[in-house]
Symmetry: C2
Subunit: 263 residues, 2 copies
């Protein structure tokens, strides 16, 4: 991955478009924001955008395309949302029906693409601040949990918040609050620190998505709103048609993580 980590987003997107890069995007294009993808028909777009606006911590909007236009003009001018992600998932009425490497046969003129920020954007600054990020150290997927914290509903969309968890010493937890507070447009400050049961998590060793992280003696779990939330919420509505990226196969934007920081 050393080669890809220092490449420019446009160059990696070209490799993806040409079918020469087909795998996970973690560690690719260091310093640039990667994004979750959710594509919905226009008749659901207002409600979904409103849901994101009302729940900015789990649903940090980086870009929204105009209906039928596959170019995310703000996050990556010149890119094409139909070809520039290594793997997509196609859902009909909430059921996974296909996994594809481009959207040529699925694109429609009424589709609106949402690019939503992901926690890769604040893990870089955490590492830069000298904080250990456990699932990176242990080389597994971040543990994610469905909580009993309700998202604020909007139109047809409603559901619980999904959170990601990183174990920290109390000292590092405080520093992590400071570091991530600078980045309100990519999840921002934690939503909870400490007792998992207080937010409806019954067994911290059994995440709903991803893999468990070791929690060492003296450490406390720190929970951030997770970008899986909007996909999970959209899916629960069982929309007639929906497209997402395949897990771990993100869209690489031209936005610097540093540009997403307010301080």
């Amino acid at each position: 991955m050393m080669e890809y980590s220092s490449m420019k987003p446009g160059d990696v997107r070209r490799l993806i478009r040409e079918g020469k890069f087909t795998t996970f995007t973690s560690g690719v294009c260091n310093g640039y924001a990667q994004a979750n993808l959710a594509i919905l028909p226009k008749e659901l777009a207002f409600d979904f955008l409103l849901f994101a606006q009302r729940n900015p911590k789990p649903c940090p909007v980086l870009d929204v395309t105009e209906a039928g236009n596959p170019e995310p003009r703000l996050a990556a001018p010149g890119a094409d949302i139909r070809f520039d992600i290594p793997k997509y998932r196609i859902y009909r009425k909430g059921e996974l029906t296909d996994e594809v490497t481009d959207l040529k046969q699925y694109w429609r003129q009424d589709l609106v693409a949402f690019l939503l920020g992901c926690s890769f954007s604040f893990e870089g600054p955490m590492l830069d601040a000298g904080l250990e990020v456990r699932h990176i150290t242990e080389d597994h997927n971040v543990p994610m949990y469905i909580t009993d914290i309700p998202c604020t509903p909007a139109g047809v969309f409603h559901g619980p918040m999904v959170v990601s968890m990183r174990p920290m010493t109390p000292e590092n937890a405080i520093r992590a609050v400071q570091v991530t507070s600078r980045m309100p447009s990519v999840h921002g400050a934690p939503v909870h620190i400490g007792d998992p049961a207080a937010i409806g998590i019954r067994d911290i060793s059994k995440p709903d998505f991803g893999d468990p992280s070791t929690i060492r003696p003296g450490e406390i779990p720190v929970f951030w709103a997770c970008g899986v939330t909007p996909q999970a919420v959209a899916m629960s509505v069982k929309p007639e048609f929906m497209i997402t990226h395949a897990p771990g196969h993100m869209f690489i934007t031209d936005l610097l993580n540093a540009d997403l920081s307010v301080l």
Copy 2:
């Protein structure tokens, strides 16, 4: 105004609803966020919300109602957007056609109300930080200017950013950047410091809206994105129907300014 400054938002909104409070809202309900109002038909709501999402500094969304529902459930549960503002303006095809004290005769089931943050929310923290806010000292309206900074367009909406200006000593300008950076959801950090011509302002002594502020020797002008922008942009599209608050007659929310701060 001493009486109103310490009242709770719900109590003042009740007085407004009963026709017992009919004037400007500045200085009312200290510590609580006040909001600009823009009401548009649902067919323009997605584009307008997308415009706000793409231009968060001039268009800080505090709440958006569901079509036909006059209750801003997040910003002020129980309030009624049709009655709880002292004065409204009715526009048809961009022309002001009426000024009213309630919307009983104008409300429609297809209307969506947007409540957008206003600079009152960061002027309180600036005063708390010991910074002088010139137009408050001089007891006049904040000076506002149309710039040549283009907003990011969305659908039918496009136009230049409007900014407000506060003169500061360099030392205070630096402190003001820090204080307002904590509040990205109500305009956030300045968009420009110094030379007015660099952002297309020809004569700093002649604001496009509001009144000029005295700039003392050694002071530099500091410019923030202004909540007048979204109204000006919406109006330029000459929508079939649009409602706004009358200038200075804001909606008083239940949101604490402190809750709009990320730090």
